[in-house]
Amino acid sequence: MDNVIHDIKTERSNVSGGLPQAYRIVPVSFYIAAVASLMLSGYFFLSKRAYENREAQMSAMLSDAQNQKNQLLSRQQTVVDESRRSEGFAKWLEGSHALQPVVAAIGRSMGKNSTIAELSLDRNPEIPAHTFMQLKIDGGGSQQIETTLSEIYALDYQTYSAQQVKGRNSTDFQATLIYNDKR
């Protein structure tokens, strides 16, 4: 009070000397909290942006990987299809056998009184092991059929659904030949 100049004005009641200085912690805390909030907001904003950038990069990588996967799957599918076709072809090749020995065996089985009037061998395209045979023999009768079938059986063929029709001087025989691989 020593350095305070006297004051003789009409005094107003309830003149404040100001809040206690210790209470300054209230606005100081407020400003610290505000600054901290701003810094945290900034930090979170930057983190979010970095996360979004990373997410975009990851999405792009994922998209690339998906494309690569699709390409690989497509190539795999192509290979599988090729493989399946090859397998079919291999099975077909495996199922198919040369018919010339059959024709030769039938020819050799003919007796002196018998001749081949008609012979047709039709391979089933779906099941190459099955061959539909139509044989018309003039002369010889059933005996000649039996002889011919014996020659065919000797080549590891079996007959299935065999039908035999006897004419006056000829015999019609038809059956499905099935190769029986014993190896």
Binding site: I5, H6, V15, F30
Partner: protein
């Protein structure tokens, strides 16, 4: 709680004293805020604008009574204040006297404002307002008494001009108290035989101090401009009783002021030390 209260807490304004709290210095009341102080003399008004750093920014003066000058200058004064708070230095219709054995009980400053009779006893006059400055070494005190009606008139004029009195003081008394404080802190100077002269715009206070004791005091406020006779009559007893070792210490409201120009020669061969600073009055009122 209103928004204004929250704003004052957040701007730390709530931790500062109110502008009209008499228990704080001018700088404590207006920290980092611009302010204006007006000195009201007889037929003359001067003023000073302080910037936000508490330094003298600009000064001005005008002839005329306060009511007339306030009518012209109120808006400008208001623009150089925060919320219209104005400091006032009165320089008329007051008297300073030398008293002894006045009460110095704790809180005497507030007591003098609220119940001056308990401090002054029989010296109290209901038509006056008082201020005191005690000698820290002796029982002597300077007692300033100012007309209550004068203060009320000034407050009324300010109210009509949308101005508010932050502080009303007696500039000459503040200068005198400041000078006495400075001397009391200088032990070499305090021990000397001194004539202390304070002058503020035709108001004069003269004190004889010897060995730290205040021996005699004369004061006149609101002298007529150029009234050399009265000034001479006031100084004569001090000069007559002076010895060759007596030293005159002079403080004016501004450096190279009217007293130095017109009346300094009245001291004759006495050593005169002028302790007046630039903007002396304004610096004292703006710092304390």
């Amino acid at each position: 709680m209103e928004f204004r209260d929250i704003k004052e807490v957040l701007t730390f304004a709530a931790f500062r004293p109110e502008a009209d709290n008499p228990r704080f210095t001018w700088q404590q009341r207006f920290p980092k805020r611009k302010s204006t102080i007006v000195n009201i003399s007889r037929g003359h008004v001067s003023w000073c604008y302080f910037d936000k750093k508490g330094r003298v920014d600009d000064t001005g003066e005008a002839d005329g009574e306060f009511a007339e000058v306030a009518g012209m200058m109120a808006d400008q004064w208001h623009s150089h204040t925060e919320d219209g708070w104005l400091g006032v230095s009165l320089n008329n219709r007051f008297i300073i006297s030398l008293e002894h054995n006045l009460s110095r009980k704790k809180g005497w400053e507030d007591e003098l404002r609220q119940n001056p009779k308990s401090i002054l006893g029989t010296r109290h006059d209901r038509s006056k307002r008082y201020a005191l400055h005690h000698n820290p070494e002796t029982s002597a005190s300077l007692l300033m008494a100012c007309d209550d009606s004068m203060i009320k008139t000034i407050e009324e004029v300010m109210r009509t001009r949308n101005l508010r009195p932050a502080r009303i003081c007696i500039g000459l008394f503040a200068m005198t108290a400041n000078l006495l404080d400075r001397i009391s802190r200088d032990s070499a100077l305090e021990a000397q035989d001194l004539i202390l002269v304070t002058w503020l715009d035709n108001s004069l206070c003269v004190i004889r101090q010897k060995g730290g004791q205040w021996q005699e005091l004369r004061c006149r406020s609101g002298l007529q401009p150029g009234d050399e006779t009265t000034v001479s009559h006031m100084l004569r007893p001090f000069i007559d009783s002076a010895t060759p070792s007596t030293r005159v210490v002079l403080m004016e409201d501004a450096k190279g002021g009217e007293f130095s120009r017109r009346y300094r020669q009245l001291f004759g061969n006495l050593a005169v030390t002028d302790v007046t600073d630039e903007h002396n009055l304004w610096n004292i009122l703006g710092r304390h």
